[in-house]
Symmetry: C2
Subunit: 354 residues, 2 copies
């Protein structure tokens, strides 16, 4: 703007135009402006135009605080989270609790329901018997016909459903809050391939369960890139550690014995303590590249110690807030800004830990 590259004069008037200002300059009453603004019917086209001109002229923008207060509506959301669960789920639950705290100031209320989300019948049952008082539901979904049906049913009943962390893509859910899992797997593969330079050898993949859509998708993405871009690395068939440390330790220990040329391990689920134990016990922790998911107290320690080489992460805080924002915006008929709601695939090395 200004000549010398500096424009530090007095700011433009900080006063907001109110509905009344609009009414006055349009020469109509408050009520008429309200009808135009909120798209109620019963206003002549000519009057609408007059009001809209006034709105444009004054740069009127509704005060969201006043609008919310006047509307006086409040919303109830249910977050369906796993019972028990691993560190990541514990973090997520905690973040949902924080989000609930914040939302309580915004006329939004979150109830956390704990369900065994890995059992399709239990999960579907929980969704089916959900109180009709809820305006929205966030659920760690399972891509299973019964669950899908339950989600579709809720949607039909007018309840907004967002899937959280794990999606049910073919359902009629409103939105998915979580990462692109195949892309996360590809990211891990690229990192693995580059870290291993041109070396030949074997790479193992350990999942919690391939019945879980997110684990399967990560594994798929990983294999896709590894086989096409790094043919000198031989990927073993994926193992299932059931997200259990003890079992994962055994699997890892067996791998290390059976494959002296083991160069890398990609863990696309939980049970990381087992992997760390086995790797450290074998004495090959530094030479084997281990890439895993989710930043927790444990994985952070393994990364700092050098046992783990990279962590692919999704930010549970962001996910919890995003789910709440999407639900609230949908129920209040407000728009959302897509790129604020996109959950990124974080890569953490020892050096960029938050």
């Amino acid at each position: 703007m200004g000549g010398a590259g500096v424009t530090a004069g007095a700011p433009t008037a900080p006063v907001r135009a109110t509905l009344e200002d609009v009414a006055r300059t349009a020469g109509v009453s408050l009520a008429t402006v309200d009808r135009v603004i909120n798209r109620r019917e019963g206003v002549r086209a000519k009057t609408v135009a007059r009001v809209e001109a006034a709105v444009a002229k004054l740069g009127y923008r509704a005060d969201v605080a006043a609008a919310r207060l006047a509307r006086g509506q409040s919303f109830r959301f249910a977050f369906v989270l796993p019972t028990g669960g691993n560190s990541f789920m514990t973090h997520l639950t905690e973040q949902v609790r924080h989000t609930a705290d914040w939302l309580a100031g915004q006329r939004g209320f979150i109830d956390i329901l704990h369900v065994d989300v890995f059992d399709p019948d239990l999960l579907a049952g929980a969704l089916e018997t959900l109180s009709p008082a809820y305006h929205g539901v966030a659920v760690i979904a399972l891509d299973h016909p019964r669950v899908r049906a339950a989600i579709d049913d809720l949607t039909t009943r007018g309840v907004a459903v967002v899937t959280l962390v794990s999606d049910a893509p073919s359902s009629r859910r409103l939105h998915y809050v979580g990462i692109d899992n195949p892309a996360a797997g590809r990211t891990a593969a690229t990192l693995m391939g580059r870290y291993l330079g041109g070396r030949e050898g074997t790479v193992a993949v350990i999942a919690g369960s391939l019945a879980l859509r997110d684990h399967a998708e990560r594994q798929f993405g990983f294999h896709q890139i590894l086989s096409s871009e790094y043919p000198q690395l031989r990927a073993l068939p994926p193992l299932e550690g059931r997200d259990d440390s003890a079992r994962t330790r055994e699997l890892t220990a067996a791998l290390l014995v059976r494959h002296p040329d083991l160069r890398g391990i990609y863990c696309c689920g939980a049970g990381n303590r087992g992997i760390a134990d086995a790797l450290e016990a074998s004495g090959r922790a530094r030479e084997v590249v281990w890439i895993t998911h989710e930043l927790t107290d444990h994985t952070r320690r393994f990364l700092v110690r050098g046992t783990c080489d990279a962590i692919i992460n999704q930010d549970p805080g962001h996910e919890a807030r995003s789910a709440a924002r999407v639900l609230l915006a949908h129920c209040a008929g407000e728009p959302i800004s897509p790129d604020q709601e996109r959950i990124r695939i974080d890569i953490f090395l020892r050096d960029n830990l938050p």
Copy 2:
């Protein structure tokens, strides 16, 4: 909670406790509750305790919409951004504009002032002549005595100052919104070292200007890790490309000629088009590991094409929103949640691009 792992009964009452509810259960008047809530004086300790007990019992939380409306205060913030500038700065400016849009609904108003932020005198001058009508300022700082003095002066006058992207650590700014630059440099070095496996060779560092604190810090962090962890890689003294593509192309071309054993380039500033051009012209784009900063349309293309190997990024959208949130929270006397305001060091590979 529930026996079968499912607790999907009727939610607790969705009604919010109001100030009046608190007054009634505490057996005092609205005015007294107000005095307690807003920490006004003139209330006996015993009465304070009674009110606080009622607040706790009812789980009372002020309705932020109503509070904001009643308070009726509004805030003006100035964002001091560079004139012209590179892609990153253009993105940032756009994101600040979006943020301004959002903030306008929250009784916050942002004016964007364009200044040549690389000239300490101009920048300090702009800060000094800033209208006193502003409650807060976000500025891309320069770590220079005059700028520092200007910031301290604003702070003394009661204006909240946050530094954005580039800090002035020794000033009395309220908060720094940006990444840990030495850590970003270390991250680049680790990636470089790992990507190059055990190979020997030369690594070049290109900065915009080492007089810029962020560039210097990145370069420092990079060298630190490279020399201590990857001694087989020889880091050349940093070059200054002045964030200019043409000049950076020449520098890069000269590097490629002079150092046949050049294995990697770390660019901790702008001017990436020059690097890409020179690398692609030399035919060594695939063998030289190039790591750079800031995800833009250009760097994204270089990454997808394989010319660039990794991008260290700070999210300008997050930074703009965070600066606005911090300023607003400070002025309104509200708390901020630190881990939501922490700007992460993103690593982007071809596979996890947003």
